[in-house]
Amino acid sequence: MKLLQVQNLNKEYYKGDKSVIGVLSDINFSVKKGECFVIIGPNGSGKTTLLKIIGLLELPTSGQIFYDKKDLIKISRKKKVEYRRKFSFVKQKPVVRNTTVFNNIAYGLKVRGIKFDDYQKSVDEIIKFIGLKGMEKQNARSLSGGEMQRVAIAMNFIINPEIYLLDEVSANLDSMNLKLLDEFIMKIKQDKEKTIIISTHDPLEAIKYADRIAVLNNGQIAQIGTPNEIFTAPKDEFTALFVGYENILYGIAELDKATGLSKIKVNDLIITASSQQEGDVKVCIRPESIGIVKGPPKNTSYRNTFKGIVENIRELGNICHLIVKCKSEKFLITITELSRKNLGLEIGSQVFINFKATDITILSS
C-alpha cells in the first residue's frame, strides 16, 4: 500500500538578483508502509531539501505530496501540524533547546498534550537507554557533541511517529553513537507499521537499511530500485560511479560448526562465506573480486565456483562489465577489456565464475 506519494515535485530558490536556482526538479516516487526508503546522492544533490518538504518544514515551488491520498501541500496550517506529528525528523546536525536533557527529550510528547505523569517513565527509560542517566537535569546545550547527538536521537525516536525522516544522520556520528542509531533503526525496521526514509551519501549505509533506493543527482532522481537493481544495473554513468558496484544477493545463512564457515542459501545457489552469520542476510561481493574462466577451474582455493552464461557485456573503455547468470542469480563482474578478448568472451559464452569465502561481506537484514 502506498503510504506516501511524491508527485512532480519542484523546488526553486530566488536569488537576490531574481535569478532562479533549481534545487529539485520533477521528483516522483512513492513509499510503501513499513518500507525503508533510502535517498542516496552526493552533497548538494537536494536530499535535505527533499526531506524537509516531505516533513512539511518547507514548501515546494510546485508538486504534490500525498499521505494516504491526502495532498499535504494544500492543507491548512492547523492540519499541517496534525500531519507533521506523523513524522519525526532527525537532522544531520543535532539541535537542542536551551533547557534540560529531560525537557528536551520530553518536548515532542509534551506538545502533543501528553501529561507529565504519562511520559515521565518512558523519558526516563530512553535516557537510561542512551546512557545519559544522572544527567537529566543538565542543560542539553552544555553537553558534549556526542551526548547532544544522543539527546537529539532520543527526542525524535520517543515520539513514535508513522514515518521517520533521517537526514544524513550518521554523517557526524562517532562509532558509539553510530551503534546506538543502528539499534534504533533496526528496531523500527522490524515494526512493519513504521516507515523510514533515510538520506545518505554512503552506499554501504544504503545497502544496509534500504528496501528500495532512489539515486538523487543534481535535484533529479536518476534511478529508483532495490539495492540489487541499483548496484548491479545502474541506469546511467552517474549512478554507476556514485554507488560503486556491488553484487547484492538475498539469502538465508546457516553456520557450519565443523568448518566455522557460513553456508548461505541464495535461491538455488549455496554460497560459502568466512564470516559467521545466521538467518536472513544480504551477501555483498565486489565485482572485481570475482574471477572468470572458460573451463571448469582445477586446483583452486576458491570456495565458491558456479557455472553460468554471459548475459550482457558493457564496454567501458579499458574495462568491461559482464553480467553472468548462474542458475537464478545474476552476477556483475569487472574484467579488463584485454582479458575479455583473450578469453574470447561473448554474449552467450559459457563460463565459470569463482570467488573467495573471505571476499564476501555479509549484512544481516
Binding site: L57, S88, K91, V95, R97, Y107, G108, V111, N156
Partner: protein, 231 residues
C-alpha cells in the same frame, strides 16, 4: 556664571539628599508615565512584532518598512498629533484628557509601540532557523513554536523594552505638548529641566539631570549585560 553653577550643584545635592517633595513628585510622575506607557506598548507590540517575525506573508517587506519608519518617528510630531486628537475641538476632545498624565501615556505609548514591535520582530527572526525547524518537526503547533521562540529570544526582547523605556523617560517634546508641564501634576524630569533652565533655577535642573543620567546609566548597563550574554 561660575558662581551660579557651584550654587546650582550645592542646591542639587541638597534637593536630592533632603528628599525634596517636588523632586520626588517629578520622579514619581516620570516613572509612572514612562513605565505605564512602555508596559502597555509591550502588551500590544510583543504579540504583533513576534507574529510578524514568525509568519511569512505577502507585503511583509512593506510592513517592515512601515515599522522601521515609525521607530524613528519625531516625538514632537507625535505630541502634536495627540494634542490635536485630544484638544477640545478634536475627535477625543470630550474625554478631557489634554494636559493629564493619561495624555502623556498615550503619546509615549504610540512612540514605544513601533520600537518594541520592531525589536520583537527582529528578535524572533534572529533565532536560529534550525531550532525553529527542530521545534516544528517535534510536533509543536504555531502557539507552541511562538512560545519557544520568545523564550529563546527573551534577551533581545527585554533589550527592546529597555530601549523603549529609555527613550520614553528622556523624551521631552511630546510630553511637553500634551502634558503641559503642570507643576505637581504633569511635570517630568525633562520638562522640568527645560523650565528651570529657562528661569535660571539651575539647582533643580542639575538635580533632575543627575537623576536622569543615573537612570540612563542603569538602563544602558542592563542593555550591555544582556548583549554580552550574562544570563
Amino acid at each position: 556664571m561660575a558662581n551660579e553653577i557651584i550654587e546650582g550643584i550645592l542646591e542639587a545635592i541638597r534637593l536630592i539628599f533632603t528628599f525634596d517633595p517636588e523632586v520626588w513628585g517629578i520622579i514619581e510622575v516620570s516613572f509612572r508615565v514612562s513605565l505605564t506607557s512602555t508596559f502597555l506598548a509591550a502588551l500590544v507590540a510583543l504579540p504583533i512584532g513576534s507574529f510578524i517575525g514568525l509568519r511569512k506573508f505577502k507585503g511583509k517587506r512593506g510592513v517592515t518598512n512601515l515599522i522601521n519608519t515609525f521607530m524613528g518617528f519625531p516625538p514632537v510630531v507625535m505630541g502634536l498629533i495627540v494634542y490635536l486628537l485630544l484638544s477640545r475641538n478634536g475627535p477625543f476632545g470630550t474625554l478631557g484628557l489634554l494636559y493629564s498624565t493619561t495624555a502623556m501615556i498615550v503619546a509615549q505609548f504610540l512612540l514605544a509601540v513601533p520600537i518594541i514591535t520592531g525589536t520583537a520582530k527582529a528578535a524572533i527572526e534572529s533565532v536560529d532557523p534550525a531550532l525553529k525547524e527542530t521545534v516544528l518537526s517535534l510536533g509543536a503547533n504555531e502557539r507552541q513554536l511562538w512560545w519557544e521562540l520568545i523564550k529563546h529570544s527573551k534577551k533581545s526582547i527585554i533589550a527592546g523594552f529597555l530601549v523603549a523605556f529609555g527613550q520614553a523617560i528622556s523624551e521631552v517634546g511630546a510630553v511637553m505638548i500634551v502634558g503641559g508641564n503642570i507643576r505637581w501634576e504633569t511635570r517630568t524630569f525633562t520638562t522640568s529641566i527645560v523650565l528651570q533652565t529657562r528661569m535660571g533655577e539651575f539647582g533643580m535642573a542639575i538635580a533632575l539631570g543627575v537623576i536622569l543620567i543615573t537612570i540612563a546609566f542603569i538602563v544602558n548597563y542592563g542593555l550591555t549585560r544582556l548583549q554580552t550574554g550574562a544570563d
